[in-house]
């Protein structure tokens, strides 16, 4: 028998209605997007039968191919850089004693979460423009650096959480057993930290893959990631090709999240 509760939110008037409408608002648009990606016609609003043609179209579209490659390169590089920096930052903020200004450092690491993205985007646009003028370099490193920077807090959070919940005694035991600091990190801290590192990397990857605002401002002429390519398409006649690309991105994100969930489950056992 369930325990009687003083307050059960489920028994409040309108609970079901509110809950249902929230879920509808959240998921109905996504479900429609996925459904219309299989539309046989050229409209994104009128159903004309089932077809894979827009997936095929996207697959064969050279622009989409280039944008996909660029997106993957940037997301992988950014997640690698951001996670490495985040691990170092997390070690510095959890494995040293409390120092003067440690709260400020924490805030500064998480700066990208607090400053409006559009401000960062404009600032980067101006800053990189100066460098472009000075050096003439217009490659993808601007995007990798910008993406790495805003991915850091997303990688930092899970790594820091993992470090904080770790048993400090393990590292002391390793040091006691003649492990030098680097050996302790490699043999004891890092293996324990791995789920956090993986979570940070996956989160960074997804965040980078998804970014529009900063990418749109920072990218040089002719460069397009998947999101900026899709944004560009919206200005022309919009076809279910955009739906197809979105569905694939959605599938990748869901797969990553599920993979991470399963991974962390099996680690706990």
């Amino acid at each position: 028998m369930a325990k009687p509760r003083a307050f059960d939110v489920r028994q409040q008037t309108g609970f079901t209605l509110v809950a249902l409408s929230c879920f509808v608002m959240l998921y109905l648009p996504i479900i429609l997007l996925v459904i219309y990606s299989f539309n046989a016609g050229t409209s994104i609003a009128i159903w004309e039968g089932f077809s894979w043609q827009w997936y095929a179209a996207a697959w064969e579209n050279e622009k989409v191919q280039e944008a996909t490659v660029l997106s993957l390169i940037i997301a992988s590089s950014a997640s690698l850089v951001a996670t490495s920096v985040a691990v170092m930052a997390a070690l510095a903020t959890t494995r040293t004693g409390k120092f003067r200004g440690s709260g400020l450092v924490f805030a500064m690491i998480n700066q990208p979460l607090m400053i409006p993205e559009i401000v960062t985007a404009v600032a980067l646009l101006l800053f990189f423009a100066m460098i472009k003028v000075a050096t003439g370099y217009t490659g993808i490193w601007y995007l990798i650096i910008a993406h790495s920077a805003f991915c850091i807090p997303f990688a930092y959070m899970p790594v820091r959480a993992r470090l904080q919940s770790m048993d400090l005694n393990l590292e002391q035991a390793a040091a006691d057993l003649y492990g030098r600091p680097w050996q302790v990190f490699r043999r004891v801290t890092l293996p324990q930290l791995w789920p956090g590192v993986l979570a940070g990397a996956m989160l960074s990857f997804v965040i980078s893959l998804d970014d529009v605002v900063i990418t749109e401002f920072v990218k040089s002429a002719g460069q397009d990631t998947l999101p900026t390519y899709m944004l560009g398409q919206l200005r022309r006649a919009i076809t279910p090709e955009v739906n197809a690309i979105s569905t694939v991105l959605l599938a990748i994100s869901v797969a990553l999240v599920v993979a991470f969930y399963l991974l962390s489950k099996s680690k706990e056992k």
């Binding site: 048993d167 005694n169 393990l170 002391q172 035991a173 390793a174 040091a175 006691d176 057993l177 003649y178 492990g179 030098r180 050996q183 043999r187 004891v188 293996p191 324990q192």
Partner: protein
Amino acid sequence: MIEITGLSKTFGAGPSAFTALENINVTIKENEFFTLLGPSGCGKTTLLRSIAGFVNPTSGSLTVNGEDMLSKPPYARPVNTVFQNYALFPHMTVAENIGFGLEMLGRPKSEIKSVVADMLDLVQMAPMADRMTSQISGGQQQRVALARALAPKPKVLLLDEPLSALDFKLRKDMQIELKRLQSETGITFVFVTHDQEEALTMSDRIAVMKSGRILQIGGPKDIYDHPAERFVADFIGDTNFVSANLLSEDNGKAQVRLPSGATVEARSPEGGAHSGAVTIAVRPEHAMLSEPGALIDGRLKNIVYFGTDTHYHVESEGQPTFVIRRQNQPDAVEHHSVGDSVGISFNPGIAQVLRD
């Protein structure tokens, strides 16, 4: 072997500063089972962690075999620790845990393998070598932690309340086991505990600590029979405290006058005591029940039967209740009853004059 001189540790600064260790002086000998005993917060673990290198003392010196330790990081000290919660590496097998220290020292694989095998035998864990540490019981984890700390053959093994997480029966077994390992390996053990019985049964010498200071160092029998301070007498075993007057003191022997007017020879504490009002300590099993007109007279308030022994509670004027413990004999007849006027006596040299 381990020389600690004038070691102090203060945490924090200003008005919130906390002195965890205050002028610790102690010499621990080669191949000794040395115990740091005291209540929680007395500084025993801080002292142990200072030897291991996890705490940097504020002042003083600490050497092992004449070599300064304080300038060295933990990984460069020839000491290993058995942690209270064992701190086994959860991502490694039992064998990998035990071999970790040797691996860090860069020993060849063949040597690591043979030492690990020896250690597994020593702690009787050979069948579990390839288990993960989460798949073995608490007592087994304890053995692995011991083997891991012993494998690199340290000069000193530090043990931080290693038995506190085990149940009673297992704890008794491990006490004997630890003592066996210590004599077999010939390694100096520094053992931290708050359990006086554990300290008495296992140690060669005990340092009793309170509020960051060492109150008394001595063998289990010295500490038990001749506590120097009230705290030591009270913390270890049961004791009767009797107020008395110190008449004279000579070469460790003191003459004290009890409130009844009787005088008796007692032992004076190390460093002597001031004459005048003092407290003397008498262990319950060192006192005897006798007829009135003895050293202390009183009235029998209670007789408590414990199976192995019987406790007699005697009330006398101006003194706390005095407890006498008498071992029971199979054919003994109880000829005292509650309410009787009785006397308390003890042999000369049994009572201990306390320093405070």
